[in-house]
């Protein structure tokens, strides 16, 4: 449900509009629902509107969390060894 993609804002236009880059693809979208967006920010795009900013810090932190998911397993192995 609710297809949306994280994309980088590359150009700010009038009327709350902007151009986003999703990988190499550029598209014009509306920023009507997000505030203080700067060029270079990532936003979540759904049906032509940015619904929310995407936090780059949290995105990286989530990936770190996933990479460390195995850490606990190693501890468990150490305990049961």
């Amino acid at each position: 449900m609710c297809l949306a993609v994280p994309a980088r804002v590359v150009e700010l236009l009038d009327n709350d509009m902007a151009v986003i880059a999703f990988d190499t693809l550029r598209k014009r979208i509306s920023l009507a629902f997000v505030e203080d967006v700067a060029i270079g920010d990532f936003v979540l795009v759904h049906v032509g509107y940015a619904l929310h900013k995407v936090s780059v810090e949290e995105a990286e932190r989530t990936l770190k969390m996933m990479a460390q998911a195995g850490v606990l397993q190693k501890e468990l192995e150490a305990i049961s060894a």
Binding site: L3, V5, V19, F22, L25, K27, V45, V47
Partner: protein
């Protein structure tokens, strides 16, 4: 294609205005249209014969024939148009039999009110495509339908080619253990069309891959005469093509999603629109299936050709009575690569 009456004064100013019913009525207007647009641009020795059909020379070898109709909207798209497409489509259908395409016919169904200048643009593009492919349009026909009964222009082309005795290519030839090779990136044409058609104005231009493949196929057959299957993954994309072959050969297939070449902008557009690049149409790509021991040779021959430098081995044929096509996903799981139900539509959920 009926020849123009030589007594008619040359008058290229006719290429203004639009198609009307007289252009299909067999009179002077029709003769002028044929002379000033079709013969002028498609010119070759066969059309110059000026008869109702073309007298073709002797051919040694088995003959192959393929037909293709083109009803595309928009008529002009990034990277091509209906004219070029109508040549490439049929040239490629003949080439997919392993044959060398020799001649094409072209039939036009024009809608009343269609711009003659647009028609000329289409025919010029067709002529260029035919020259580049080295396959002349030797005969043709024109009909006009009332306004509202067509979509500007429909083009039907038929191709005849010749097949060497050594070649045996068929959709039923795939065997377990064979390698599956794609000649390049998947989904370019479908996304190019979609982005122009359905209010999807991307700021990035995605080009169709429409091109003739007879030269690439000739190079492939020279390297590996024993290629088992060739197919161009047009409507329905790679998934439809693989499913067709799996059913014809009564085998299964396992591909690796990560090995399938896809252009970054096409992958991004698919992601944004909820489409799967494996289901999106191509017009200038070939899928080849060959014995495993020929795979490296065939791949090398494709990669040294400009139309195949992104070629990749994408999977293998397996024994499976259900004739299922499955893929290893990027994540490492498995899924079925299904034959889609009708045209893929952009989705929001």
């Amino acid at each position: 294609m009926t020849v123009a009456n030589p007594r008619l004064a040359a008058d290229t100013a006719r290429v203004r205005g639009s198609v009307d019913m007289t252009h299909g009525a067999g009179g002077r207007a029709m003769a002028e249209l044929i002379r000033d647009i079709f013969h002028k641009h498609l010119a070759n020795q066969y059309l110059a014969q000026g008869n109702d059909g073309a007298l073709l020379g002797n051919v040694s070898g088995r003959l192959v024939m393929a037909a293709d109709s083109h009803v595309i909207s928009p008529l002009f798209f990034p990277g091509g148009d209906i004219g070029a497409l109508s040549v490439h489509g049929t040239v490629n259908d003949v080439a997919m039999m392993g044959a060398r395409p020799l001649w094409l016919s072209a039939s036009f169904i024009l809608e009343e009110g269609f711009s003659l200048a647009e028609l000329e643009k289409i025919v010029v593009s067709m002529a260029l495509a035919a020259r580049q492919a080295g396959v002349p349009v030797v005969t043709g026909d024109t009909k006009v339908v009332e306004k509202g009964k067509g979509d500007g222009v429909f083009i039907s082309t038929t191709g005849i080619g010749v097949l060497s005795e050594a070649t045996d290519i068929a959709g039923s030839n795939a065997r377990p253990g064979d390698a599956i090779i794609a000649s390049g990136t998947m989904g370019d044409h479908g996304i190019a069309i979609l982005s122009k058609r359905e209010n999807l104005d991307f700021e990035t231009e995605i080009l169709s891959d429409t091109q003739p493949l007879n030269d690439l196929v000739a190079a492939m057959l020279a390297a590996v005469p024993g290629i088992r299957v060739l197919r161009d993954p047009t409507r329905g994309g790679l998934s439809a093509t693989l499913n067709e072959i799996a059913h014809q050969s009564k085998v299964g297939m396992v591909i690796k999603e990560r090995a399938v070449p896809v252009k970054p902008e096409v992958a991004a557009a698919c992601e944004l629109l909820g489409l799967d690049p494996l289901n999106v149409a191509n017009e200038g790509k070939v899928i080849a299936i060959c014995a495993a021991h020929d795979a490296a040779t065939l791949l090398a021959s494709m990669r040294t050709h400009p139309k195949g430098h992104d070629a990749a081995i994408i999977g293998e044929v397996v024994a499976d009575e259900h004739a299922l096509v499955t893929t290893h996903t990027r994540l490492g799981g498995m899924r079925v690569v299904d034959w889609i139900a009708g045209e893929q539509l952009p989705r929001i959920c």
